[in-house]
Symmetry: C2
Subunit: 209 residues, 2 copies
């Protein structure tokens, strides 16, 4: 088993933090997205979509998409449960992950891929040649700011986003926020609940994965 | 329990088809997205994000996001399993759902919300006032065409997208494709495997849900 990975990219990091919280160690292979290695034929022979992260199973099967890889390990290593343990908690966790992806990871990626010359003609992850759309970089900032306020509000009365213990929601959120800060949209100091949560999650050993 | 729903919108339909395949009947309340009812205060008191579909549980909890609602029912009504029954099948199903959402539902929604005057200043689902970005409507067409070819290829040797039985992938795909055709991007007749699959899935009683 092997994980195709890129240090510094938000979605591969979600998988690494998830594995660290589960105590799972696997072989990792670095693929340089910035340099376009994910669009070259050696990597496309592994994943024709050119996406990272990608998990290669021992039977030769390929699993891409962050949430699919994490859910694979949730099944093979159920403890600690990071996707919930009741119908309701599982649904709430899935809902929050979707909210963070749509309102934070996507806008931050929009800022990077539509505003940075290094991604010229690569505004969509993967293999397509798609021109940058500067308006997406602009609206990404507003979306992130709104998201920060909602997340701060949610964290005003709980230690983790959805309750008493860390879940895949917190992992998704820390990777999203660190990525958003990397692309230039910092969490305002006025959002004290979110800041406190961020400091606490960042101190966990898994955050260094 | 109550499902806030809109006939004609792709994501609410995914939940209705999912429920039909599970044999679950629940109360449904129509909310008119086109008319902006999801952005009015009565609905925002239920779901502050203004999104559909939304599930109201008997304990008063709110679950939004299509995949979260479907996963709730996968837990409460495990048979037939629509999200897979092994670690590997669960991961492959999740990966395909993400691919269909990213490469078909999102581009089709981009075409509708950035090209139709009815969605002026509502280019993102929910409550934000976000100007239309015409370039998104344009690139949506190319993304859908690429997706159709990949899905046709996948269906060349199997009756359902991920194997021998219907899963949430087929449900996601039929709702995505019917939505894409509604916004004007038809499946080409040359993609015969995809056409055959589409006809077969459309004949299931659940497709009318």
């Amino acid at each position: 088993m092997k994980l195709f990975d890129m240090t510094g990219a938000p979605n591969p990091r979600r998988v690494r933090v998830f594995l660290a919280e589960k105590g799972i160690e696997i072989e990792k292979v670095q693929i340089d997205i910035m340099g376009g290695e994910n669009r070259q034929k050696d990597y496309l022979a592994i994943n024709p979509r050119g996406l990272l992260p990608t998990l290669l199973l021992d039977d030769g099967s390929i699993i891409d998409e962050t949430s699919a890889i994490c859910r694979y390990f949730e099944e093979t290593h159920p403890e600690p449960a990071l996707y919930g343990d009741t119908a309701k908690s599982k649904a709430i966790i899935e809902s929050w992950i979707r909210q963070i992806e749509g309102d934070a990871i996507t806008p931050a990626a929009d800022i990077l891929r539509n505003g940075n010359p290094a991604f010229e003609n690569r505004s969509i992850a993967g293999t397509s040649d798609t021109p940058q759309v500067p308006a997406l970089a602009e609206r990404g900032v507003a979306r992130l700011q709104g998201f920060y306020v909602r997340l701060d509000n949610k964290l005003s009365d709980s230690e983790f986003v959805t309750g008493d213990s860390l879940t895949a929601v917190d992992i998704t959120a820390i990777c999203a926020i660190d990525f958003a800060e990397y692309v230039g949209v910092a969490v305002p100091d006025s959002l004290t609940s979110l800041k406190r949560w961020h400091n606490r999650i960042s101190l966990r050993p898994s955050a260094q994965a």
